[in-house]
């Protein structure tokens, strides 16, 4: 028996059963990061720098430690010295050393018997700062004379003569740009900016850490990846990785922002210093916005050439991004994906990763891709307008397809970009009539997806039901997808599968739920582990029947003789085999681990209609269509959910969301009232079309779908506003004041 090769007919895949964690989540029983308390628990609070850039002269905790109920105070002096590279960056970001590098940077932490007392004690810790000049803007930070965040932060890639704040440099391309631009009938070049946006998960970071004087302990935490959490936290504390067992809570949103550490090593260090008492730490929203990782802000110049009939002849992009006080702005991805939708012979990308006095950026859904898409897809829209071409037909003419050599190097396998464009063109939204002050925008986007380290187990229970153990936290319904894939593999009802997210003690290393990888990679591992179980069950049946295991097939949840030559035996159900497994060789389970490389990217095309109020500049989204390739939608309702959620976040980034820094380098809007994410009344229903061009690298054809959806909205909305107002605005967000200024002919 074997289930190798790709299935095309499914019994469970593609259905939409209720998610297994639904009941807990609608009754308030689901336990998130802040929802666990244990006896003897202390509460932690963090002292944060109010300055964008300052030398830490002195930290005096005398008054705090004198308060009754205050059990421990930690500073950087409580962490080991001598860390290097990323480990040093993590440690420096979790707790400032010689300097505070941004408004909100942690400088000390305290543990006390109540949350209020911990906050009072934090206020009683006196920190003396020597304020230094600061810079928060990417273009300013590259200029001669800009304050130096940190000498020696640049790596080998940076050419000589650049400001020390430029820490990484990327340069890639192919062909002959001069030749390509010479072939063009029209060349358009524009400069663009996008602002830092926050993932905006509704659950603030929270954890409960316990560690004894022996450096061993446990961590309960909301995270996208508990092995990452374990490795990073232990590295920062200078202890062996396996000393800490990490259990993930339910997670209240992450979108990339919960793939790294902030308060977790602080809770462990406080616990150790407080004699091993567990320490709970919960961030406030102010802390989340000031001190966790928003995405990078960008400044970009993009130049593209096109023939009269719509062929892109050449493309050049320069991308400057700041990701806070540490290297890591995703400009490498930006340069890689800037023109990846299209088949372009002559292409060149340059990227600068710049450090500033802002919080260390973290991944945010398709990190680096939305900014590039904003620039590239806006220029293409402008080319189409000037040449009188249809934006979808023009994209079809240039679309990457199977066999196209991607602008970042490799040849694409089977991909579904053309199919998304055709479906968008055929959708009724694309021909809906528009009224005055209304406009339509089209844009496409891409995310390459990821495999990553993956370890999963499947165990058969005594009654024939099945337990699946995976290491990727369920952030958007992945337990339902895993259960569907296991049900399909075994041929047993969905309800007979239970999926657990295991802790770090139960499986090998798993990367986080990131890179749109969970349904692809943990799903693949679940199917392979199920197949191992099936092989063992076929063997048990063969032994009982006294025939060769090769003469047994698995169908519809039963072992069956593979034909008349194998002998006449009634099928054995999974329950029958499981019921006697104790006497036929012991427990039956399967395991699979890999860093699967068969992931394949997902293309999407969005069409948006807007109305712009000419008196206020306010943009209203009238209609929104997401078309995206899912490879194979395991649970279509949750695939639609990813499309809709990605679109909503992209709309927020396009219209309202931005980090606003004052002249003092302090974040001006660290509250949801002013950091304005879309609310229900801002949005219409979000229409979706799921395209399915199967990925040959997954048994059921799955492509990750989580990230692509945030990429097209930035340019799609900007193109629609251009269509409605006649004004091309190259800066995001398109807040009413900016759009109004553009309508009035003022500089924006």
């Amino acid at each position: 028996m074997a289930l190798d090769g790709q299935k095309t007919a499914y019994k469970y895949i593609g259905t939409t059963p209720n998610r297994p964690d639904g009941l807990d989540k609608v009754t308030g029983r689901a336990r998130y990061g802040a929802d666990i308390s244990v006896p003897g628990m202390l509460h932690g609070a963090v002292v944060r720098s109010p300055h964008a850039h300052a030398k830490i002269v002195k930290i005096d905790a005398t008054k705090a430690l004198a308060m009754e109920g205050v059990k421990a105070v930690i500073t950087r002096a409580d962490f080991p010295e001598g860390l290097e590279g990323e480990d040093w960056d993590l440690q420096e970001n979790c707790m400032a050393g010689e300097k505070a590098l941004y408004d909100g940077h942690a400088v000390a932490a305290v543990a006390a018997t109540t949350p209020l007392l911990a906050r009072d004690a934090a206020k009683a810790i006196e920190v003396t700062y020597e304020i230094l000049p600061h810079v928060t803007d990417v273009d300013e930070a590259m200029k001669e004379g800009a304050p130096v965040i940190r000498e020696g932060a640049a790596d080998f890639s940076v050419p000589e003569g650049m400001h020390p704040n430029v820490v990484r440099y990327f340069d890639s391309g192919r062909g002959d740009l001069d030749k390509g631009f010479a072939e063009a009938d029209l060349i358009i070049e524009r400069s663009f900016t996008t602002e830092a946006a926050h993932q905006g998960y509704i659950e603030p970071h929270a954890c409960l850490g316990q560690m004894g004087a022996d450096g061993r302990g446990e961590l309960w935490v909301c995270t996208q990846g508990h092995w990452f959490m374990r490795r990073m936290s232990t590295a920062v504390l200078g202890i062996e990785t396996t000393n800490i067992r990490v259990t993930p809570s339910e997670i209240g949103g992450g979108f990339g922002g919960k793939t790294t550490i902030f308060i977790e090593p602080l809770s462990l260090a406080l616990s150790r210093k407080a004699g091993g008492k567990p320490v709970k730490m919960v961030m406030s929203r102010n802390e989340v916005l000031r001190a966790t990782g928003p995405t990078a802000s960008a400044s970009m110049d993009v130049k593209m050439g096109m023939t009269k009939d719509g062929r892109i002849t050449a493309a050049h992009g320069t991308f400057r991004m700041q990701g806070g006080a540490f290297a890591g702005a995703p400009v490498d991805v930006t340069t890689m994906l800037a023109f990846a939708n299209y088949d372009i012979e002559h292409v060149h990308h340059i990227g600068y990763d710049v450090i500033t006095n802002r919080p260390r950026q973290a991944a945010y859904r398709a990190p680096g891709a939305p900014m590039a898409a904003f620039a590239t897809e806006s220029v293409i829209d402008e080319l189409c307008r000037e040449l009188g071409l249809d934006p979808i037909d023009t994209r079809l003419k240039n679309a990457a397809k199977e066999g196209t050599r991607a602008t970042f190097g490799p040849k694409y396998g089977p991909i579904g970009f053309v199919e998304t464009l055709e479906a968008a063109k055929a959708h009724p939204n694309y021909s809906e009539p528009l009224g005055p002050n209304q406009g339509r925008g089209v844009a496409s986007g891409y995310w390459m997806n990821w495999g990553g380290e993956t370890s999963a187990s499947v165990a058969i229970s005594e009654d024939g039901s099945v337990t699946v153990s995976v290491g990727t936290p369920d952030i958007g319904g992945s337990r339902a997808s895993m259960a569907l894939m296991a049900a399909e593999a075994f041929g047993i009802p969905y309800e007979n599968v239970r999926v657990n997210i295991s802790d770090t003690g139960a499986l090998g290393v798993n990367e986080p739920t990131h890179g749109s990888r969970a349904t692809y990679a943990s799903g693949l591992a679940t199917i392979r582990a199920a197949e191992e179980c099936i092989g063992k069950m076929c063997k048990r049946a063969a032994d009982k029947w006294g025939i060769d295991p090769e003469a047994v097939v698995w169908e519809d949840g039963c072992a069956k003789p593979s034909g008349p030559n194998a002998g006449e035996f009634p099928p054995m159900t999974i329950a029958e085999i499981a019921g006697e497994m104790g006497g036929t060789g012991g427990p039956i389970s399967g395991h699979y681990e890999d860093s699967p490389a068969g992931f394949s990217g997902s293309f999407g095309t969005h069409v948006v209609d807007v109305e712009v109020d000419p008196e206020t500049g306010r943009t209203t989204i009238l209609r929104y269509l997401v078309v995206q390739d899912a490879g194979k939608a395991i649970h279509p309702a949750y695939v639609e959910g990813q499309f809709q959620g990605g679109a909503a976040q992209g709309i927020g980034w396009a219209l309202n969301e931005e980090y606003v820094y004052g002249p003092d380098g302090r974040l001006q809007n660290p509250v949801f009232l002013d950091y304005r994410v879309p609310v229900a009344s801002d949005l219409p229903m979000i229409d979706t079309v799921i395209v399915e061009v199967p990925n040959p690298g997954h048994p059921y054809g799955v492509r990750g779908v989580g990230e692509t959806g945030i990429t097209p909205p930035l340019p799609a909305v900007a193109n629609a506003v251009r269509d409605a107002t006649g004004k091309r605005i190259c800066k995001l967000p398109l807040r009413p004041s900016r759009v109004l200024a553009a309508i009035q002919g003022k500089e924006v």
Binding site: T16, N18, R19, D21, G22, K25, V26, T27, G28, R29, A30, R31, Y32, A34, D35, S37, E68, G69, T114, P115, L116, L117, Q199, G200, Y201, I202, E203, P204, E250, I251, G252, G253, G254, F255, V282, S284, R285, I475, G476, G477, H635, A637, Y638, E640, G641, Q644, G645, A648, V671, F672, L673, V677, P678, V679, A680, S681, D682, L683, M685, I686
Partner: protein
Amino acid sequence: MSKRIHVSTKVNGDEADFLCDPRETLLDCLRDHLGVMGVKEGCGTGDCGACSVTMDGRLVCSCLVLGVEAEGKEIGTVEGMADGEVLHPLQRKFIEHAALQCGICTPGILVAAKNLLERNPDPTETELRYWLAGNLCRCTGYDKIIRAVMDAAAEMREAS
């Protein structure tokens, strides 16, 4: 440390007493003193609605109410929505419509939606979107939430 104050209240119909610091919010008291963990903190400033509860039938952000204000009041939370093992139609429709992804905003949205349907059993989509404008969801784009509430409202109208 301020002197603790004794508060007697009712949560989901049951009498509940707690001692609190006068600075503590109703949200803090529900979670830390009474173990009502379905009430979530997303912002602490009344902007996200994750801590939505009813107080004497009025929808409030429990982070904007002091614990001491609960004295003599009746508090309603998501934990009080189901009738034993029978879910409220809103709860059932949220599961059926895949109207939650991470689920952290779900308790607050359910409490807010139930409060709306008690006032207006037949809201338009626009009325519903404005009523829920104080409840942030970052995962779903609201589409399936709106559909779930409209469907639950229709079912409740038919049943009444």
